[in-house]
């Protein structure tokens, strides 16, 4: 095998370009089986030199797109470059991150507070970029925590989680967070219905007592700050996914429902009995009007709101009470149900806003609803009964067309802005390309394996960048070496510039990316914060100059005001700390240059290190247990003298009489 490689490489020196391509292809195919490929052979796709060229980003050059992929059960977001597929950053959101102290530092600990206390993990599903006029505006990324219902807002200028709001009256925030066309709201619906308000009742009273909610979270236009505007109480179905209307359908949000059977056990059978479930069309302008008309009811609720103050960069956590609700059953015109075959999963709105594509995961076709036909059906009262008083529209009255034989297990659809839609087929592991309007399938490409979501950069907006589609596959199986990478869910990059889709690249991802979003790098790169100007640092424990570095005692609390620069701490010798003290290390990084963070760790500390960005201050608590002399040091290889970037702190017995003092140098 190696010999084969070497031969090929030598040949490249002599041979012309065209011959080269052939060599590569041959070499690849040739060594495939030895790398442990399965016998089915079908796994080898793409892999031509031209495909390689399309994903190759030369050293020092940048990727064209940033892709934000949910980190799934890791609770984080993975940021990848496209087309290279390189992992650029793991961005901490719902899970603690010892790499930089997120969730451990005093500045960030409040971010993970909830009514259940400190919850250091979540299941992150759907990243969504903020929009203005239905287009990406590069300001914020929103993502849901599915397990302990929460929404997070990440600033794209710092790539930091700036806000997390808990969603009350929810049993798992799956159908979220979907922004409306100008990010007036992000919406969130409960996947699992629960008693609302929560109470201790038998599970088998589900049908009488369980409900769902659809929450509208207001987003401040300037600051992005989220607040729960209102919740709509809805029948106790499962609410799966959503998308806001755009252009002509602006003012509406569409949710898929399943379990309209209202089963509470063995859902895989019991929630699959109905021929059709519903797409719920929610008129949020009507909801706003109903609130204005005084139809809202304030309900008791308790939830927690955590936000970073943009000036101090310190998080605070506030417990909030009460939420405004609207009962969909009692307010006509708020919601209409469009019957949709077989437990629909994704619901996606095309760039024009007219077509609403709902993928019934157990259906043999993809129904496409028409927004204008829906309005007409409502006007004509083309109803097929109701569900708990909410009108069910006639299937034929809203349907624009059906995509026949798309494949097995359709889940999600994105759009290329050139008149085509791309749907993921979970069961038959393929992407199916079809034409809007004629509904005919025009191309298919196999993916490896069991694709969940798929994503075209901007493919959910009014202006898609129809160059690539990413397959977010659920099963990795044989894509990488057998042991170890079995959970690095394989993403695949597919070129959609031509008539035929072309497989370009496999790349591993963290957690289980459910959905992803991608935006042109230019939209984000130019607003990036590289350093925090030290003169603007308003952390209450900042040390702005080395001359202010010091150690102070306040009862059992010791505050160490310590600075970093290549390659020393000030102070670096500290004495007078006693067992039983709580030592707060307030570390200010006085560097003002791009990419010069310093790290901080003390021997035996029970939480995490700190990584302090240039101009920033971070605080970590240390509670020494035994007398002795403890080294602390910079964990980030910052300079040629990094190994010297170290200090000592002396810890004395609780009753010792050692004077508190600190120094640097002789």
């Amino acid at each position: 095998m190696f010999q084969r490689n070497e031969r090929a490489v030598t040949m490249t020196k002599k041979w012309m370009m065209t011959t080269l391509c052939a060599t590569v292809a041959v070499a690849l195919v040739g060594c495939g089986p030895q790398a442990g490929r399965p016998a089915n052979g079908g796994a080898l796709a793409g892999g031509t030199a031209s495909a390689a060229q399309k994903v190759y980003v030369p050293p020092g050059e940048y990727d064209q797109y940033y892709a934000f992929m949910s980190g799934g059960f890791s609770g984080q977001v993975g940021v990848y470059g496209l087309p290279s597929g390189r992992l650029l950053k793991v961005l901490p959101v719902f899970s603690v991150n010892p790499e930089n102290g997120y969730g451990f530092s005093e500045e960030t600990k409040p971010m993970l507070n909830t009514t259940y206390g400190f919850v250091p993990w979540d299941d992150a599903h759907h990243p969504k970029l903020s929009q203005t006029n239905g287009e990406q505006d590069g300001r914020w990324l929103f993502i849901n925590g599915n397990n302990t219902p929460r929404l997070a807002r990440i600033s794209l200028d710092t790539f930091e989680t700036d806000e997390i709001i808990q969603i009350p009256n929810s049993g798992g925030s799956h159908a979220s967070p979907y922004p409306t066309e100008n990010t007036e709201y992000v919406v969130a619906a409960t996947r699992f219905s629960v008693p609302i308000p929560q109470e201790d009742i038998p599970i088998d009273t589900y049908k009488e007592n369980f409900q769902g909610t659809v929450s509208f979270i207001k987003v401040d236009k300037e600051t992005g700050e989220m607040s729960i505007a209102f919740q709509i109480l809805v029948p106790g179905f499962d609410y799966d996914l959503a998308h806001a209307g755009k252009a002509v359908s602006h003012g509406w949000v569409f949710f898929t429902t399943y379990n309209t059977e209202k089963a509470h056990t063995l859902k895989e059978v019991n929630a699959s009995r109905n021929d059709k479930d519903y797409v719920a069309a929610v008129n949020w302008k009507a909801a706003e009007q109903a609130i204005a008309d005084g139809k809202g009811v304030e309900m008791p609720a308790t939830y927690v709101h955590n936000i970073i103050d943009p000036k101090t960069r310190v998080a605070s956590s506030t417990t909030k009470k009460g939420v405004m609700t609207l009962n969909a059953r009692k307010i006509p015109g708020l919601i209409y149900y469009m019957p949709t075959p077989k437990s629909p999963h994704g619901v996606d709105v095309d760039p024009s806003g007219e077509y609403i594509v709902a993928s019934g995961k157990l259906a043999a076709l993809i129904p496409v609803h028409s927004f204008s036909k829906m309005l007409k059906a409502i006007e004509d009262k083309a109803f097929d009964g109701d569900a708990e008083g909410i009108p069910v529209l006639k299937y034929e009255a809203t349907i624009a067309g059906e995509v026949q034989d798309p494949g097995l297990g359709p889940l999600h659809t994105e759009f290329d802005g050139k008149g085509y839609a791309y749907s993921s087929m979970f069961v038959s592991s393929e992407i199916t390309k079809w034409k809007l309007g004629t509904w005919e399938v025009v191309d298919r490409i196999p993916v490896y394996y069991s694709i969940g979501h798929l994503m075209i950069p901007g493919g959910d907006t009014r202006k898609p960048h129809g160059e690539y589609v990413i397959a977010l596959n659920k099963i990795t199986k044989d894509r990488y070496l057998p042991t170890g990478p079995e959970l690095t869910q394989s993403a695949q990059l597919v070129d959609i510039n031509g008539d035929k889709m072309e497989m370009l690249l496999d790349f591993p991802t963290i957690g289980e990316p459910h959905y992803a979003q991608a935006a042109p790098a230019s939209l984000i790169k130019d607003r990036s914060v590289r350093i925090f100007p030290i003169e603007e640092n308003q952390n209450p424990y900042v040390t702005k100059s080395e001359k202010d570095a010091r150690v102070e005692r306040d009862g059992n609390n010791i505050h160490v005001y310590i600075t970093t620069i290549r390659s020393h701490f000030k102070p670096d010798n500290i004495e007078g700390v006693k067992v039983g003290d709580k030592v707060y290390w307030h570390v200010t990084n006085l560097e003002q240059d791009w990419d010069v963070p310093h790290g901080f760790g003390v021997m035996g500390m029970n939480n995490s290190e700190l990584l302090i960005m240039p101009g920033d201050t971070r605080t970590i608590l240390w509670e020494p247990k035994f007398p002795g002399v403890y080294p602390f040091y910079c964990t980030d290889f910052c300079s040629a003298l990094h190994q010297e970037m170290q200090g000592y702190v002396r810890v004395s017995p609780a009753d010792a009489e050692v004077e508190l003092k600190s120094s640097l140098g002789l």
């Binding site: 790398a35 030369p58 290549r566």
Partner: protein, 168 residues
């Protein structure tokens, strides 16, 4: 054509490795990206103008007027210096960087300002700055100062050392 050829050759190597799943990485992938200017290849011997040799490379391209000591300006300079420079520079002693009293005795105000405003390029190209880097081993960093800050700092250095910079 030549470029494409090279490009494809490296891709071939990458593909081979990826395709065959061996643990061997292409050399290039293991080399860290050059993050400091100091790591860039040195410019061919000097190549600098006489002006640059004396006054440094950077946004200061004209002589700066040095008059009687301006106490007010020196105070402004001190405020910036204490936040952004004192971590590395002291007055009479060598610290992370050279002592101010040594610097002012051998540099023009323009040279000092260019060093503050454009350290990456200075360290990459200017023989004097390169020599100091060899001695101190820590690259002087851009501390996000403006041209006005830099001028004020020169005034502060004058006031605190009681010396004037050389005129060049």
């Amino acid at each position: 054509m030549k470029k494409i050829g090279i490009l494809s050759a490296s891709m071939v190597a990458i593909l081979m490795v990826a395709g065959c799943g061996q643990a061997k990485k292409p050399e290039a992938a293991a080399a860290p990206a050059a993050s400091t200017a100091a790591a860039k290849p040195a410019a061919p011997a000097s190549g600098l103008t006489e002006w640059q040799m004396t006054h440094g490379i950077g946004p200061v391209t004209e002589r700066v007027e040095i008059g009687p000591l301006d106490e007010e300006l020196a105070k402004q300079g001190q405020a910036v210096f204490e936040v952004k420079c004192m971590v590395c520079h002291h007055v009479t002693d060598r610290y992370v960087g050279p002592a101010l009293q040594d610097t002012i005795a051998r540099r023009t105000p323009e040279y000092m300002m260019n060093m503050m405003l454009n350290p990456d390029e200075m360290l990459a190209k200017h023989p004097e700055a390169k020599k100091l880097l060899g001695e101190f081993l820590v690259p002087m960093t851009f501390q996000n100062v403006t041209k006005d800050d830099a001028r004020a700092i020169v005034e502060y250095i004058r006031s605190v050392t009681g010396k004037d910079p050389i005129s060049g």
